[in-house]
Every structure is written in C-alpha cells, then in structure tokens.
C-alpha cells in the first residue's frame, strides 16, 4: 500500500511537471513565402539564437506560395487563426495597416537593448511608419536590376550592360538598341519582363522602371500619372520595342530568360539563386537611366506582427531580435537590408557568393537612390481596374496615349 502511494505521488509530480513544462514552452507561427532551403535554414538559425534570451520559445516558419500569400493570410486572419507574425509585401501594406490588423511595434523596437532604430534608412521605412507607430520592419529592400546573358551579348558582338554602365552609356536608348541587335543577330528575345508576367500580374514591374527613368510616376498624391507626357514617352518606347523592333517578348509568348531565351530581364538579387543552373555567363547591371537620370525602383517586404495574435508581445520581441544588426547582416546575403550600417559595410557587398562585389556595389547604390514601388490602400482594386485597359495597350495598332488616358480614367476614382 505504501509502495503504491509512493508510485502514485511520483506519477502525479511527473505529470504536473510535464504539464507545467508544456505551459511554459511557447511556439510562434511565422508565415513566409520562401520555400528555399537556404532561406529557411538561415531563418531557423535566427530562431534558434532567440533561445539565448527566450529558452522556451520556438518559431515555426510556414511557407505559403507568393502568388497566394496575401489571400491565404487574409483567410487565416478572417478565420480566427492568425499567425503570430509574417512577411508582408509592399503592395499589401497600406491595405492591412488601414484595416488595423498590424501591431504597432514602435515601443518594443525603441526600447530593445542595442537595437538602434535610427540606423534604419528613413526612406526605406516610409511605407511602414506612421508618426511614431511602426507597422513593419523591412527585411528586404531589394532594387530591381537588369540580369543579362553575357553569352548572348558576346555572340551579338555587343558591349554588355555592365560595360555600358561603367562607360556611362547605359540608358533607355542603348537599352533599346542592344535589345534590337540581339534579336537581329541571335534570334533570341532582347528583353523579357519580370518572370514573363509583365502583361498580367507584373504590370507595375513592367511599366514603372521606364516611367520613372523618364521622370514620371504612375500616380502620386491622388493623381494619376499614366497620362502625363513622361509616362507616354516611356510606354511608347516599350511599345515600339515590343511591336516594331520585336525585341521584347510580346504578349502571349514565352521567352524565359533563365533558360536562355532572352538576353535580358529585370529582377531582384534573390533570383540569383536560379542562375547556377542556367548554363550561360551572366551578370547584373543597374536599370538603364532615362531623361530624368538614374531612377532605381525598389521592391520591399517587411516583417509584421498581427494584432489578433495571442502572443503578439512575444512576437514583437522576436521581430526586434530578428532585425537587430547582427541578424540583418546575416540576412543580407539574400535580402538587401534597410539598415544603413549594414548596407554601407563591406560585408554586404561580399555577402552574396553568386554576385561579384563590383556588381553588388550597384545594388547598394540603387538602394540609396531608389524609390519603392507604388502602393495604395486600394491596390487590389486599382490593379484590377487597370488590367483591362493595359491589355488594350498591348496591341500592335494601339494608340498609346489614348490607352494610357483610359487607364487613368479607370483608376482615378480609386486614387
């Protein structure tokens, strides 16, 4: 009987211990859109290092494909099952911030030991800060660069964009010329829009760089910019390249840069991970300058905490950990940082093993000079309203000026 009592007591103590241990252990759920093993390994290392101050906290990274990311995130929020924290793209930021679903991280970040919030570049924070409130911390401030197929440029006997940039001759005119020559001499396309989706899901990525190079903008201060002379000139040039020079992959065709079908494309440095298997010599160069000079375009993503999460304070502490100087430097190999101290360091230019330091210097330069892609609280509605009008633009006999006026007429009520 005594023995039985002792066994019972021991079991009870053990069970209570397990229960209390379980209660102490906490898990943060973090949604991301990367499925890259290298990215996830790095993220897990950062999560592991959080245990130094929070030994019972684990972080589970959950991948949602980029194409469905915003929708699926919305379902999770609407379904009462919000992640604790997640990545967020720049075009979704205003909509989510206005809906009040993002937590203000300002006080946590400013009071975190050794965090140095002022180290973040102010323009890079523009989209995520409202007065003292901070709704997200950019982890990737990645400019769009020209990827070129060096092998095709050599075959066509042309100077490549990097050489042209070094000589100060890399502008919209030479861009058009080399694309046309490539097409004539090699039969391959001169240029492909980002991921071949410039006519549908990447309209902004297709139109924005030339429009800004010409000194225009798609919209600003509630006013549409598509029908301004700068935008018309820029889009007319693209239109000529597609339908007169036939040097840009036209709508309805496929001309994948990464498999060698196009000599140039536009993308961010995270895509460099696809290049080792491409099978040709390549490099990255800045976007061609235009009448308005250099005007790099930046795509941005930030880490946010969801207001409806049950562990939002803990999640905010993890954001402070993940975006401290040390971890930002670690992430810089894939995601260009918004921290000035890391951006200016040699560690950043030599961080990417696939891209030489002199090409990474152009990335740093673009981050310093660039402007983030446009976004708006009603981005999804604006893009949907634009799409059919932009479709009408991409026809051989389209009147570019009229088509762009139609774009403005469609989106102005939403701006």
């Amino acid at each position: 009987m005594k023995h039985r009592m002792r066994t019972l007591t021991a079991s009870t103590v053990l069970a209570l211990g397990l229960v209390s241990g379980q209660a102490l252990a906490e898990e943060l759920r973090f949604t991301v859109w990367t499925g890259s093993e290298a990215h996830l390994k790095m993220l897990n290392e950062i999560a592991e290092s959080f245990k130094a101050t929070h030994p019972d906290v684990t972080v589970r990274f959950e991948t949602i494909p980029a194409a469905d990311y915003t929708q699926k995130l919305t379902f999770q929020l609407a379904g009462g099952n919000p992640p604790d924290l997640g990545w967020m793209m720049e075009d979704a930021a205003p909509t989510f911030a206005a809906a009040g679903v993002l937590m203000d991280l300002g006080s946590t970040l400013r009071s975190a030991e050794g965090y140095d919030f002022a180290d973040y570049s102010e323009p890079a924070l523009g989209l995520w800060v409202d007065g003292e409130a901070v709704y997200g911390v950019p982890f990737s401030t990645s400019p769009f660069m020209i990827y070129f197929n060096k092998t095709l440029f050599d075959e066509a006997g042309l100077e490549d964009p990097l050489q042209l940039a070094a000589a100060g001759k890399w502008n919209m005119d030479t861009f058009q010329d080399v694309a046309k020559t490539i097409k004539e001499k090699t039969g391959k396309w001169g240029f492909e829009f980002k991921d071949g989706q410039g006519y549908d899901s990447r309209i902004m990525h297709a139109l924005m760089p030339p429009i800004r190079a010409y000194g225009g903008d798609v919209w600003a201060n509630g006013e549409c910019g598509f029908d301004k002379p700068e935008a018309i000139a820029a889009v007319q040039q693209l239109h000529d390249m597609v339908f007169k020079d036939k040097s840009i992959v036209p709508p309805g065709e496929q001309g994948d840069y990464f498999s060698g079908s196009s000599a140039m494309t536009i993308n961010q440095i995270s895509r460099a991970s696809k290049m080792p298997e491409a099978g040709f010599d390549w490099g990255i160069a800045p976007l061609p300058s235009g009448p308005a000079g250099e005007s790099p375009v930046i795509g941005q993503a930030a880490i946010v905490v969801f207001e409806r999460g049950v562990q939002k304070e803990l999640a905010a502490e993890f954001v402070a950990h993940m975006t401290n100087k040390e971890n930002v430097a670690k992430m810089a190999q894939f995601f260009p940082p918004a921290r000035k101290s890391v951006l200016d360091s040699e560690a950043f230019t030599s961080a990417n093993s696939l891209i030489p330091a002199e090409q990474m210097a152009y990335v740093s330069d673009a981050i310093a000079k660039g402007k983030v892609l446009p976004s708006h609280e009603k981005s999804p509605q604006i893009l949907a309203a634009m799409a059919p009008k932009v479709d009408a633009l991409w026809k051989a006999d389209a009147n570019v000026e009229q088509a762009l006026a139609d774009v403005c007429a469609a989106i102005e009520p939403l701006l």
């Binding site: 929708q71 919305t74 609407a78």
Partner: protein, 309 residues
C-alpha cells in the same frame, strides 16, 4: 403456449417502451439517414444560410466589420454596376458555347465508342484521361500551345496557310480558346455517361427498327435519341451548372483577361470576395448565380417533362 407468449411479451415490455412497428421503423430510418442529414445541414444548408445572411451585409473580410445593409448589394449589382452585366454576359457566352459543344462531342464519341471493337478501351481511356489530369498541368500546356507566333497550334495552322490569332491575348479568341480547351478536358465524363446509357438500350429495339426498314439516322432520331432523354437531361444540367461555376480554368488560363473578355461570374465573385475583401457583395453575386442556375435547371426540366408527355 399462450403462457409462453405472455412471458415473452412481458420481457419485451421490460426491455423497451412499447412501440409500434411503424414507429420502430421510423426511428431506424432516421438513424440510418441521420449522418447524411447532419452532413447536409452542417455543410450545405448552414453555409447556404450564411451566404444569404452575408449577402445582406457590408462585410469586409480583413477588418471583420459587418454592417446590415438589406438588399443594397443586390441593388448595386443589378443596377449600379456595369461590370456585373458584362460578367454575366461572359458567363452566358461561356455556357452557351460550352454546353452544346460538350454534349454534341460527348454523344458523338459515345456513339462511336459504345460498341465493342478492337482498341475501344484504349480510345475511351484517351478521351477520358483529360478529366483526371491536373487542371494546372492542363492549363500550363495549353498556354504554351496557344502562344501567338511560337505556339504549336498556330504553327500547325500556318502549315495550311492560316495565320492564327494570338489566342489568349484577343478577347473574343480567348473566350473561344477557354471554351474549347475546357470541352476537351471535360468531354470524357459526359462520354462515359452516354456510353452507359447507350449500352442500357436493348439491342432488340434497333433490330426491330432495322427490320421495319429504318435507316441509321432514323434509328438514332426515332429510337436511340428519345431513350437517351433522361441521360441527356442529367448531362445538360450538370454541364450547365459546371459551366456557370467554372473558376480554376479561367484563373489558370487567362485570369479573366484580356480586357475582361473571359471574366466570368465565379471568377468575379472570387475577385470581389478574396481580392477586394467585399464578402457581402460577393455573397450577393453568389446568390444571383445560384438563382440563375436554379431557374435554368427548372426550365429545362419542365420543358423535358412536357416533351416526354
């Protein structure tokens, strides 16, 4: 004997309350159907009632704020939104193109493949295979084949001197392309239904008609076609409902473009609900779609019944 019966009777009344046979059968019947009824209430009637309620609210999915607005969403859709009528027109064009083409092709294939001959299983498999093929793979392959100049379809047309259009970038041709590729994908299902119906028709009918001197066309028109009527009705209804509900095919092939030329109702509902977060408005559109499909089905069933009488 009488004592034994009394004893048995008292034992029974001790075990359970006295129920008539009819009551016992009713309870058993309800127990048998209860899983289905529960599923129906939980997964069909419940969500349907919820959609009716949502359609009377202005509910933003992201902010989770819902305001009761009565029939405003219906009024907005039917009288203030020109996009709705354009989308509805597209849905009707899609259905009117897809349903007859699908049914005619399915019946032709079934007539050709209902009788046994060498290789019949192979051909049936070939025509049925697209039904079980992944919609994503199907769309990717067709997008590749339907490219403007470099597409295999246009290259084949060029061989016979035809300059093919840029199929997925011209609104009218894009609609033709999504209809035809959808028909090729789904026709196998209707073909199987027709084959099953054809095989159920006794051969004697055809033999008798032939003895009477009927031609092949007369046998089909006067004997087979009337006997296929119930199957035709089922196929018509499910194909029409499917064509109004089409979403994945449009999403993957054209995304509703170009110039909203293939923007159909189900895709528009998705955009409103899950891209713009207007769940109330999207629910009203879904109810309108439900009513349209219901009316078309009832009309078709009524006409068919009158035909058969």
């Amino acid at each position: 004997m009488a004592d034994a019966l009394t004893e048995k009777g008292s034992a029974r009344s001790w075990r359970a309350p006295r129920l008539t046979l009819r009551q016992r059968e009713a309870i058993e019947a309800w127990l048998f159907v209860s899983p289905t009824v529960a599923g129906f209430l939980l997964f069909f009637l419940g969500p349907l009632a919820a959609v009716v309620y949502f359609s009377l609210t202005e509910w933003n999915l992201l902010t989770q704020q819902a305001t009761f607005v009565g029939v405003k969403n219906y009024v907005d859709a039917l009288s203030h939104n020109p996009d709705f009528w354009h989308v509805l027109r597209n849905s009707f064009v899609f259905a009117m193109g897809l349903v007859p083409l699908n049914m005619a092709l399915a019946l032709s294939l079934a007539l050709a493949l209902s009788r046994p001959f060498r290789g019949v299983i192979f051909f049936r498999t070939v025509f049925f295979a697209p039904v079980v093929t992944s919609a994503v793979a199907w769309a990717i392959v067709w997008r590749f084949l339907l490219q403007g100049e470099g597409g295999a379809v246009n290259q084949m047309l060029a061989l016979v001197g035809i300059d093919g259009p840029n199929w997925l970038r011209e609104p009218d041709w894009a609609m033709v392309a999504v209809i035809v590729t959808r028909v090729i994908k789904m026709v196998g299902l209707n073909m199987i239904l027709y084959i099953a119906a054809l095989q159920a028709i006794p051969r004697d009918y055809e033999a008798a008609a032939r003895l009477e001197g009927a031609s092949n066309w007369q046998i089909f028109r006067m004997v087979i076609w009337p006997l296929l009527a119930p199957t035709t009705l089922v196929i018509f209804v499910i194909t029409m409902i499917g064509s109004f509900k089409v979403f994945d095919h449009i999403y993957l092939m054209t995304g509703g473009g170009p110039e909203n030329g293939t923007l159909v109702l189900a895709f528009y509902i998705y955009e409103q609900g899950f891209k713009f977060f207007n769940v109330g408005y999207a629910s009203a559109l879904a109810m309108i779609m439900f009513v349209i499909v219901l009316v078309l089905t009832v009309v078709q069933m009524t006409l068919r019944r009158r035909d058969m009488q």
